[in-house]
Symmetry: C2
Subunit: 174 residues, 2 copies
Amino acid sequence: MRTDAQRNYAQLLAVAAEVFAEHGTEASLRDVARRAEVGIGTLYRHFPTRDALLQALLASRFDALAEAADGDDLRTWLHRVAFGSAAYRGLPASVLGALRDETSELHASCEAMRTAGAGLLAASQQAGQVRGDVTIADLLIAATSVGWSAEQAGTEGAERQFTLLMDGLRVNIG
Amino acid sequence: MRTDAQRNYAQLLAVAAEVFAEHGTEASLRDVARRAEVGIGTLYRHFPTRDALLQALLASRFDALAEAADGDDLRTWLHRVAFGSAAYRGLPASVLGALRDETSELHASCEAMRTAGAGLLAASQQAGQVRGDVTIADLLIAATSVGWSAEQAGTEGAERQFTLLMDGLRVNIG
DNA sequence: ACCTGAACACCGTTCAAGT
DNA sequence: ACCTGAACACCGTTCAAGT
């Protein structure tokens, strides 16, 4: 990659993170290009779709979560997933989307994170702390849901929802 | 209201329900006006904002939920709230928004539905079936969250999340 | 190789002109 | 009273022209 292209790529990514934080994942891409001081065509050359841009931003997030699993307990890790996914308005939907889309370029990062979480879950289940019929998919849906609530209803409500979720995982039914 | 105005109002509402069902709550309002065979200015005259249109659609929904509480048990009613709010993409956010916005013209309908739900909750708590520290606000956040999951991850995952939620309500901790 | 911006087809919203 | 659509300022996306 040419050095100017490299600069533009990095700049676009940094600016996109800012703009999405301000206006959500539906923010104007033209605005991103403007603030990055780059022609709109350059944005499209590097990121052919809005999803491509979002995925580039999500990748590092997933990697960080995969790493964090080594050291967190299940509750701490799920909390990270939930409230981390609420970084931009609309992000929880993208996170869940990436988890479900197997054709995504992100799928490797997704899988790493998912298996890391599955490890924490299995340990908690073996220790008898979490009901046995819950899957990692269940937990990721529940956690991103809490992220959505944080966006919509504020942190307090979402924290209560998270606590309710964690308490609920302890029942032994299934 | 003039009879042509009345016709237009009703037509716009009916078409909006269709278009939102197809394309979500962010669907093109111009498209709504076109399909309703009405000038775009007429749409804006009847519904000055997209939210006004959404609110008109939500009102009957809330009223129906308030009525349904008389006859449902808590689980059935919450299921209705959760999956009913997933009727259009983006609707769970509007439902939660309407519940939180006290200045909304919808607030009367909201309150009616909320108190109806609160009655079901209180009964379940007195019967010892639901933990005592859960509030109706908690349940409405949780239920609309499930609606969001249904949009994002499909019905199966959302149903599992709903079951997990209902099971979790039975723990006696608080 | 890469960058640029004009061009196209849309959109939300307003408001003068009509009946 | 109400309806209409042109007008404005935006947007996403593509692609010929430039370096």
